[in-house]
Symmetry: C2
Subunit: 636 residues, 2 copies
């Protein structure tokens, strides 16, 4: 396989050996302040521990002890895929240890390795739910068993560990598992796939990490096998696990959103490493149509609660938005991979949108509760979840401390811990700032030219991004700062007192930079109205407010009454005052009818001017107790 | 129990012993022509046979043979509730035999009895899925086992048979099963309930049929036990099977729509027979709020695919309408019961709406395919189902010959076969025509005054209802003809050449009728626009067309292109021409965007006048091949 980039040792979740851009790793980018630093701090001090504590409490970590002590299946806790959440926690820990060197966290990580290691069988198989007397046989339920899905998360955690620490016991566990998968499912082995994609990007990344081609070949085999009907019939139909159409023939993402996105990520990895232009083209087109027609304003994906699935084109109901947090993580994974492969910053726009409006929405402000789904319209006030109970369902009305299926909290944790790897990319010509965050960027261009940048910004709340060069260049290079797609007018680049208007894409400065050079980008983060394509029937006659990259929401907490009959006056622009975004709201008294479909247009009898009402960033809604909320608001 | 009405022998699915109105039975009302006669003919000649053939083919009837031959559980086919569909088929057969005396059908009915009878165990238990070696024990899975649900349908079929034929072998099977249920779940027995209500209305009806109080007491016990958390936790939450709130404390129907409606039906039966005003008041209020806030224009109920459930108030997305056919049957059951209990014709309006726009929508024109769900907006052309394959899913995009869960076809069959019992009611003062159909009505008022009416009408297509009296009255009595709620203006009653304007409710004529008297009602069935409460976000800015009781739909088959970007001009009223309803449609060329949420209102670039386009009655859509369809159409 090609080795243009040094994929092995770089502290990255995704480290392609080739492609338009090379991502800067955790050692090259340190997030030092602002929004993302605060989020990483919450993750480090609360969320990771919270997930670990809950998985001890509900026995998912204990499943490994039960395996060692011969107490399975009697004592098995959780769903068939419970092992995977332990691995995702460990991946989060690995990134966090890599980021900060936290010794106490390192000890906890090792304690988990101690409990997992003895469960791995002689041939590399490792799963607490299958294969023992009284359990189903290995690989007897490819549709729902999630065994390869669990291995995928184990391998991703192993790669994270290897790249941040070096090859150790845990990395060996992951490699033994991957070897087992290759032996079992190779060209001469079981000719099938897992109902939940995830092994594909994991094996591709392990190939990058180890330099061993066989993992890539296996990932490719899994990608190519899918879509030919190898899995059995299920209630949700074959598109649920993308078994309806081969990956390279599909036109759009469909079925279970997280499955579709993980598969797309793996397909891109395989395509990049094998130079398969057809495949990367196919996935790019699928993703483009998905973004253009099957994505919520928040970047959320998945319009159906049933099957946690994509709906048809433009079927994007606000009140039934499933928009699973994990699909946000999956969209960021796919967006980042397409950015690296193509260099097109539109993919970084998607990453920004989902990180700030889906992934960041999931945790509560205190880090002890999570949204699983992310509705855009809460019709009835939710109930605050008990802080000491597992929520049975993926409810959209409340953040809950833990779920019976609890994929989201650990997915958020691993994403936030590795956020630094989304910040900047490089190519031979220079460095690109992709996600705008206060950070120290230190790297070296391929010819040895050093790059040292300090980025300061209050983004996403403020539009000023100030980049200070800290080291003299040995030759001219190009600094690019992404201008997000929403900044269609008013973005200004300032260099040496000279201002240039810049458009979405990259703002560029090319020169032999000297220490002390300052480049400033001013993005117009003023609140603005956003409309919808008329085919999005669900929000016809409605308007949303965005401010910079943040989607805003009207919450009953601020309105002082239920939002269901609120409307906004769009004659004037939204007002910004004292750090708040306000819109003029009119509220109507409901006309109560025995039948809701009258023979005349239903103009409300009474409309009251509720005055200027503050909106909240969508990712912060629901933090002040039960409320009703809407992102899309009818026009008055 | 009270015996004001003669409940035992009357050929009725629901025959209350008391209440405002007494329903006329199959022997008192003969449907002789028009829409419903055609539908009954299709049912008799195709649908019943179709269901029987499919249940032979997929082995659901064969399960009874397998039980006799000791081949269970190995040879068991279908879901845990497969027995129930055989019983629903037999109920349909019983009504059909009662209606027509079809000897060949009688022989097929007896053949089924021959196969079922030996499966019943000594103590009355009868189920092909539980209790044998290798099967789960009886009543070990009250959440999902459906054992009492199956008994409920067996008992309803038994009552249908008893009332149309007399007490025979099959009726005895049903009674033995009911006795077993009373013994097992009585006050001193298992203190639990079934995850799927149905036993409640069945036992109440058996009490009415046999005159035995114990069945009513048991039904009441089941109603009162529900809502206290006796069933275990499930993914969908306790509201799924109405275990969240006791029946008499609930404010609205919620959870699984069919479960909620069957339970409401049983609660009304219990309340009526026990004189429980509080309970009947509670269910009436729940149903009123459900109709006012949780019901589609079609009368369809259930906004969520997930859990086949009611959504929140006003959450009525067209494209995700689940609106299960069986929920339509359930709504008709509840509406009819409330009509009989209260006399309020608004409940007959609901029955009319769901029969014509949900139940009648399910079967294809040839009777060999069925909708399980009834969407109000088809975004992508469905695929025509293979005529020889079981559909795995309750797809909304196609009518399929049979489903893995196939509750709907038999439910339609039993409802259509017993349609005559919805047509007319009586009280001491006279007769009420509730469902407008060509029919012969022959009954006797309590004091012996004979009533003989011939009703002629092309309703729902035409608004003229002509009632000819065929027998002299012995005293003055009141003929009431229901004026549907939609006929808010222009309904005219004509008697002896004199015209009176009548309003929704009942048009009344009181006199000592003479043979040859004619009463004519003219209903204004002209096509009209219908709007929605502004809280129904899903259809904001849209309008529907109704014609008389029929909801109309715009189908791509008529438009000649996809309906997703169609809009209607509402300046003028819909046009009626040559028996068609036409509206002026404008179609827009889609503006393709990379991101569907622009910064400016998305006015289409090109709007074309598609001219006057015919609409189809919603219940007939999808009969001309794959199409896109919408009931609610954006206003141009």
């Amino acid at each position: 396989m090609p080795t243009g980039h040094d994929a092995q040792v770089r502290a990255l979740p995704v480290s392609p050996s080739t492609g338009a851009l090379r991502p800067l790793d955790l050692h090259e980018v340190r997030v030092t302040g602002g929004f993302w630093s605060d989020f990483q701090q919450l993750n480090a001090t609360v969320m990771i521990r919270h997930a670990e504590d809950w998985m001890e409490r509900v026995g998912w970590i204990g499943n490994f002890d039960a395996a060692v002590e011969g107490r399975l299946p009697a004592d098995r806790q959780g769903r068939e895929f419970a092992d995977s959440d332990v691995y995702k926690l460990m991946e989060a820990m690995a990134w966090e240890i890599g980021r900060t060197g936290d010794a106490e966290l390192e000890a906890r990580f090792q304690a988990l390795v101690d409990r997992i290691e003895p469960v791995q069988e002689e041939d590399g198989y490792l799963n607490t739910h299958f294969g023992r007397p009284g359990q189903q046989p290995r690989y007897s339920d490819m549709e729902w068993g999630h065994e390869l899905y669990c291995f995928g998360h184990l391998i991703q955690a192993g790669v994270a560990r290897g790249r941040t620490h070096g090859r150790d016991r845990f990395v060996e566990i992951a490699i033994r598992a991957a070897d087992h998968v290759c032996e079992t499912f190779g060209p001469d082995g079981l000719d099938t796939i897992c109902g939940h994609p995830e092994i594909e990007p994991a094996l591709a990344e392990l190939a990058r990490y180890t330099g061993e081609r066989k993992y890539l070949d296996q990932a490719r085999l899994f990608v190519e096998r899918r879509g030919h009907g190898r899995l059995g019939e299920i209630w949700f139909g074959p598109e649920y696990f993308q078994e309806d159409v081969p990956v390279r023939e599909a036109e759009v993402l469909r079925g279970h959103a997280v499955r579709a996105l993980y598969l797309a990520a793996g397909a891109i990895d395989v395509a990049v490493e094998t130079g398969d232009e057809e495949l990367i083209g196919a996935v790019t087109r699928q993703m483009s149509r998905t973004v253009a027609r099957r994505t919520y304003l928040t970047g959320g994906m998945g319009a159906h609660h049933e099957g946690e699935a994509f709906g048809d084109d433009f079927e994007l109901p606000s009140d039934r938005a499933y928009s699973e947090t994990c699909a946000g993580v999956g969209a960021a994974m796919v967006g980042e991979r397409l950015l690296l492969a193509t260099g097109d910053p539109v993919h970084a726009d998607l990453v920004e949108r989902v990180l700030l409006n889906v992934v960041a929405t999931s945790p509560s402000e205190d880090g002890h509760g999570f949204f699983y789904t992310n509705t855009l319209h809460q019709r009835e006030p939710g109930t605050t979840a008990a802080t000491d109970e597992v929520a049975a369902r993926a409810a959209s009305s409340l953040r809950a401390p833990w779920f019976a299926v609890s994929c989201c909290p650990t997915n958020v944790a691993r994403t936030v811990a590795s956020f630094g790897t989304y910040v900047a990319t490089a190519d031979d010509d220079g460095v690109q700032l992709q996600q705008l965050a206060t950070a120290e960027v230190r790297t070296t261009l391929p010819d040895g030219c050093p790059v040292a940048l300090d980025v300061e910004t209050d983004y996403p709340h403020d539009g000023r991004v100030r980049v200070t060069v800290r080291e003299d260049a040995t030759r001219p290079w190009t600094l690019r700062v992404r201008v997000p797609g929403w900044a269609t007018a008013g973005a200004v680049l300032r260099v040496d007192g000279e201002e240039t208007t810049v458009l979405p894409g990259y703002a560029e400065v090319r020169r032999a930079f000297r220490a002390g050079d300052v480049v400033e980008l001013d993005l117009p983060v003023r609140a603005r109205w956003t409309w919808a394509d008329p085919r999005v029937d669900a929000v016809r006659g409605q308007v949303a407010v965005e401010r910079g990259p943040l989607v805003m929401a009207l919450e009953s907490t601020d309105l002082g009454e239920d939002v269901n009959l609120a409307a906004v006056d769009v004659e004037a622009a939204p007002v910004e005052r004292d750090g708040q975004v306000l819109v003029r709201v009119r509220t109507a008294a409901p006309t109560e009818r025995d039948w809701p479909f009258p023979a005349e247009p239903a103009h409300p009898d009474t409309v009251a001017d509720a005055g200027l009402v503050p909106l909240v960033p969508y990712h912060r809604w629901g933090n002040r107790g039960p409320s009703t909320m809407r992102v899309w608001i009818p026009q008055a």
